[in-house]
Symmetry: D2
Subunit: 208 residues, 4 copies
């Protein structure tokens, strides 16, 4: 078993940076294509990150795995993660569909937290993909995670993140914590309603 | 009377670009200062633009003024406009207050569309300011407009803008248009409710 | 024969923007890979542009072609052009070689203005390539030009450009113009000498 | 005596970042102003950095000072350092002169390494300045260093830096090292000659 530290080798760092750039470039390209087709901007903003070793270790332990390099390669799909924020809910499917036509990418799995939100209220469209890069003169496929959100989903998630993690000490099993969780869940619902109505208004306008 | 075209002189273009940079830099600085004090990011994103001559002309005509250069200088306050998007409603007052301490800036007027939303539902904190720049070796004061919004206000405004202007032909006096306007107004209210509850949750967490 | 204006169709604009992003992303990726291998930065800066219709027309006329759309497609290779600036002369070959391993790109032709400088003194490594993009759900290959330069070549070219085009009126057939051309040619030689010695010093240091 | 670590306090970090932004913004502004006046770009690129504590400590020890916080405040002028690269030698004086008109900045000292190059061949125009910032609601003046270079000076300096520091082990007192130093010094001279001739060509063209 190789130690988890291998994740931080010069070669792996370069590899993951290349995957990150490649995926962010795909968002750029898809935005250009879809914005041209629909006469409006599709992707509001994008971001990406490479998971650090500590987070990988924590995640492996949580999954009940031995925290070694091979396990990380096998079980952690989001060492590279990118995110795009769109305007309307159906835009997310459109972006996902456009991505699926790229021959240097393969969608391995879709986690549809729009149709099936997480218990917390979290909504988003996640995809585990593998993407082909040319590295050290050879082609290779690397796994990554793509998250697609609407403006409203991102709004909720950013605040949820800020609120939950602001005080690392926040014990969300305690009574107060549960109350806050409950409130956030309610807002997630309110924002979903807004997301849906926005699509309806858009459709109405297009029909006038 | 000098012609409105003077707005586009090489010198004016440079002047307004300098004002734009100066104000965006102030957002950057204030974000650094307040993020340090509060241990969280204050300003999510910023943007800015210089109003083009056609828009200035249209605005002058709408105000019932002669569309000449002097009138533009006197009556149009937002030739340079910048915007910052924050997380919480009270952040906007904090940013405004921090700006007011800058000796190279003076706040001329505050339009508080948070307390008094526009008829459409539009909420925001607008400030007409004058800012000092060093240009061609001399100090001069130039007017500009600063808009401060929360994430939720911006969400609404972006969609409102997309929806209203998507079809320039949209006749908002027509029955369909009015219906849509009504819906947007309702959502503005819904988002304001969310804005207020978010502050409450934040305060609760900080007290735990 | 289709009119040249077709170059500016919404679809072509999006297509060329996608090619531009794709090539700039390749520079980013290659820089990551080679910087990792050599423990120093490889690419100092990059830039790119889409040729406007007027320049395409001028170029077609200069080549003695009818200025229509099909001719532009056939004869103009640099509608999309990208440039990377490296530190050492042999870096250019290294970048070119790394690019040649990418399966979504094919190098059609190399114009080696390092070994065979232009009459003006211009040195650079140009490549005409075709690059594969996924556009409107299909794969297609689009031609583009890649220019690789050292810092010193870029220094010369930037000044050459500034000097030659500063006054569009500059008649370089006139006696004064020829004198200036002659001087620039001499400096090109001086900078080539510096480029070569820099590589020698680098090699010396690596051997100490 | 306060410990040097105080340099890294949250407050100092924010303060130095604000100074950095403020100075980079000045370059942006000055570039806009001078480019407008001369119809050509003045500043090719800019960069900046905040000196880390280790480098400050090393510098204090080298100066024979006790490595404490007060000494750093008194003796280290370049905790914040910014750099701008211009095209022509006389541009540097023009940028310096324009900066000197800014009322929120004061030039404390000029080190003219153009007229008096360092022993190594290094040429540049350095200025120790103090700049006024609004921080925590109050005005304060902070010291910083501004470096102005031509393209050619930067070319030399970048390669000099790469070559000298590539191998930290390079013993420049050794025979090989001295030889390399000598070569770099010669190239500095060659590049200075080119810098001067470039200005002459520019002047010739402007007179045609």
């Amino acid at each position: 078993m190789q130690p988890l530290e291998k994740i931080n080798s010069k070669k792996n760092k370069a590899r993951y940076e290349i995957v990150l750039h490649t995926l962010l470039n795909k968002f750029e390209i898809i935005n250009t294509e879809l914005s041209m087709e629909e006469n409006r901007i599709f992707i509001h903003n994008t971001s990406g990150r490479i998971k650090n070793m500590d987070s990988i270790q924590t995640k492996l332990v949580k999954k009940g795995c031995e925290p070694g390099y091979e396990m990380a390669m096998e079980r952690i799909n989001d060492i590279v993660g990118v995110r795009a924020v769109c305007y309307y809910m159906d835009d997310l499917y459109r972006v996902a569909d456009t991505l699926s036509r790229h021959t240097d990418m393969e969608i391995l799995r879709i986690k549809n937290y729009m149709e099936h939100p997480k218990k917390s209220g979290y909504r988003s469209l996640h995809m585990i993909v593998k993407v082909m890069i040319t590295f050290s003169g050879k082609q290779e496929w690397v796994k990554a995670e793509i998250q697609l959100r609407t403006f409203a989903m991102d709004y909720w998630a950013v605040l949820d993140h800020q609120l939950r993690y602001k005080k690392g000490s926040l014990d969300i099993n305690a009574k107060d914590g549960m109350e806050i969780e409950k409130e956030l869940l309610d807002y997630a619902g309110a924002l979903e309603t807004i997301d849906k109505k926005m699509m309806k208004i858009r459709d109405k306008i297009e029909k006038i």
